[in-house]
């Protein structure tokens, strides 16, 4: 699939200038070239090509069964590709067993050795490298401090909480200083609060170590928060690669738009496209849609408009007629504290999702059930999709 470049639009908040993928001179650390993997005739990974750069925090995101874990296991050496090539720092990994690959994996199950104490779990890979005993002890102490487990060195895994086990698994995987850390659904077993905290810890850790991280997750929030770039996968293929804000604000397909976050998708016909604006007709909106969009669509072709709920405004008073305007009735209100989600039934019968941040504690005229409302959104609020 092609990635769309949108030079005129500044999408999302860009915090750093770290963007080796945009630099043609940058050398990737890992390169997947047309990698295919089949299990009993089922294609798990279907011709994936992907570059991951040194120091990057890269996320493979997709629903279960999309091949993201297989892709990671191919890199770790637990699976062998049926065709294609995987290189690490320029070196072809073909035929290299897992124990010879300079990548370490943090398993979803943590896979801690139950017969070994925390410190001996962490020392496991170091011992295997033949590191002298005193150096191992130093490194273990350093790792314990890094993941804030000092004092638990002598515990056995079954004496630890889930969060502590997760950190032992992390320390064990980074202790041998691999070229790359692979994280397979690392936070899936933690509860929500701990998961959120750990997401930020992972980011801090990655920056501190300067290590390249590859994370596999089905949790879009986890990928968005932690990663520099996200590859969205679907049935063995990468559908889109981009920074979290790219993938969220400029999805290249209905699949990506729908998979990442909530979205309203309107089907319509392109009526006009001049490279800056696309005008669409749609049964949902009498005034049609008028969208800032540089794609040149064929007039009369079917297109879809994706608009995120938080970009839709809810009005109790009728706004002046025009494009990007729909009338409806409040069907349901979901109050989440920080956000309120409105389900609005349009005249066509379609239900649209609109969301508003509850920035103020008191509102003059709160929107109520069965209220007649108008929905509008700005010309740059939506993205036109052709697939």
């Amino acid at each position: 699939m092609t990635e769309r470049s949108r030079p005129r639009l500044n999408i999302g908040a860009v915090r750093s200038t770290f963007a080796p993928w945009a630099d043609p001179a940058a050398k990737p650390l890992v390169r997947f070239e047309n990698v295919v993997k089949r299990f009993d005739g089922e294609t798990a990974v279907n011709g994936v090509s992907l570059d991951i750069y040194p120091g990057e925090f890269f996320a493979l995101l997709g629903p279960s069964g999309c091949g993201k874990t297989t892709l990671m296991r191919l890199l770790a050496g637990f699976e062998t590709p049926d065709s294609g090539r995987i290189t690490l720092a320029g070196e072809d990994l073909a035929g290299k067993p897992p124990h010879q690959r300079p990548v370490n994996m943090m398993f979803q199950s943590y896979a801690l050795f139950p017969h070994l104490s925390v410190e001996r779990n962490i020392a496991f890979g170091l011992k295997q490298q033949g590191m002298p005993k005193d150096q191992i002890a130093d490194r273990v102490t350093e790792m314990l401090a890094l993941v804030r487990l000092d004092g638990l060195a002598r515990r056995k895994p079954h004496q630890l909480s889930g969060g502590q086990r997760q950190r032992v698994a992390l320390a064990r995987a980074i202790a041998p200083r691999p070229k790359m850390l692979l994280l397979d659904e690392p936070l899936a077993a933690l509860d929500k609060k701990l998961r959120e905290e750990t997401q930020f810890e992972l980011m801090a850790l990655q920056q501190q170590l300067g290590m390249t991280f590859l994370i596999v997750t089905h949790d879009q929030e986890e990928a968005m928060v932690t990663a520099d770039r996200i590859a969205v996968m679907r049935s063995g293929e990468i559908v889109q690669i981009g920074r979290p804000a790219d993938v969220y604000e400029a999805p290249n397909s209905r699949y990506v738009a729908d998979f990442i976050g909530d979205v309203n998708i309107f089907e319509g016909k392109a009526e006009f496209a001049d490279g800056t604006t696309v005008r669409m007709s749609s049964p949902e909106a009498p005034g049609g849609f008028d969208i800032v969009e540089d794609d040149l669509l064929d007039v009369g072709s079917t297109a879809w408009l994706a608009v995120r709920p938080e970009k839709i405004e809810v009005h109790l008073d009728e706004p002046p007629p025009g494009p990007n305007r729909m009338a409806g009735k409040i069907e349901d209100i979901g109050y989440l504290g920080d956000w309120t989600t409105y389900l609005v039934e349009l005249e066509s019968g379609r239900t649209i999702r609109a969301a508003r941040a509850n920035a103020k504690r008191f509102v003059d005229r709160p929107v109520d059930w069965d209220d007649k409302v108008w929905l509008t959104f700005a010309r740059d609020a939506g993205v036109v999709l052709t697939q």
Partner: protein
């Protein structure tokens, strides 16, 4: 609430009642016998308790008990030899069982589930035949004109004389106890998470190193369980040495039988049994501790 607690109390009493009736009481009987002396009487020992004499009778009874039989055991070389050779047979057989049983259990645990079930069945199948019949079948194989020597003659070898030698006892013990070694080993090996081996490989272990650093240490509870499960009954084993080992081999099981039935020396037989029991208490306690630890760590 209170009534319910009382009933649970009663239920908890059941195992104690059972143990008291079938373990403690017979044990006390045997212990008492071992402190008695032989006599030409029916039953062939003295003293006996005469309840009609009341408390005084009980007093004379206790006064007549002594450790004379035990002294006899330590002074007679025969008992010591039997004791040591029993330990030797049990220990060496346990070693052979481990060497044979571990790879077998390992292979079974690594098989495809369907094959695994079939192998497990095959392992248990011999139990459907009487133990005695199986030992007699072994005699048929090992005897001078038996299956083994016939087969050896066909290929121009032999004959070998195995029956009524120590080798026959080892063969019999290993054959009879193999399932007791394999099953506990299989249980721990089968339960082992495959991702632990992947983690070991990921951290730099070759498959061989992963086995010694992960699989084997994790299977130690199974090794201990299997070893004790075989060692404990093998020390007192009677049928196999009696049928396969001929008359020259001395083992405690056989000694007890001889003392009891041939010599009608019930106190000596009881004393040997008590010594055997105390010898085995150590491994039994070890075994229990191991099991308790497993339960504690069990997930």
């Amino acid at each position: 609430m209170k009534a319910r607690r009382d009933r649970t109390g009663l239920a908890a009493l059941a195992p104690f009642l059972w143990l008291g009736l079938f373990f403690l009481f017979p044990f006390l009987l045997v212990a008492k016998l071992s402190l008695s002396d032989t006599a030409l009487a029916i039953p062939p020992y003295t003293p006996r308790i005469y309840w009609s004499a009341g408390l005084a009778g009980l007093k004379t009874f206790f006064a007549a008990l002594d450790f004379e039989t035990y002294a006899r055991l330590t002074s007679d070389r025969l008992y010591i030899v039997a004791y040591l050779s029993s330990l030797k047979f049990a220990a060496i057989s346990t070693g052979i069982l481990l060497i044979l049983g571990y790879p077998l259990a390992y292979a079974m645990a690594r098989c495809a589930p369907a094959v695994r079930q079939a192998l497990l069945m095959a392992m248990i199948l011999p139990f459907w035949t009487s133990f005695l019949i199986r030992v007699y079948a072994l005699i048929g194989i090992l005897k001078p004109e038996g299956l083994l020597n016939t087969a050896l003659r066909l290929v121009g070898l032999g004959p070998v004389n195995i029956l009524n030698t120590e080798t026959a006892i080892y063969i019999g013990l290993v054959y009879a106890y193999l399932p007791f070694m394999v099953l506990p080993l299989y249980a721990v090996l089968e339960r082992q998470q495959h991702d632990l081996l992947e983690a070991a490989a990921d951290l730099g272990c070759t498959p061989f190193e992963a086995f010694w650093r992960v699989t084997f240490p994790l299977s130690l509870p199974g090794v201990a369980a299997g070893a004790l499960l075989c060692f404990i009954p093998m020390v007192g084993e009677f049928v196999i040495p009696d049928l396969l080992g001929g008359s020259s081999t001395l083992m405690l099981g056989k000694t007890i039988w001889t003392e009891f039935f041939a010599n009608r020396d019930w106190p000596a037989a009881s004393a040997v049994a008590i010594v055997l029991l105390f010898t085995l208490v150590v491994p039994i306690v070890l075994y229990q501790r191991q099991q308790a630890k497993l339960m504690e760590a069990g997930r």
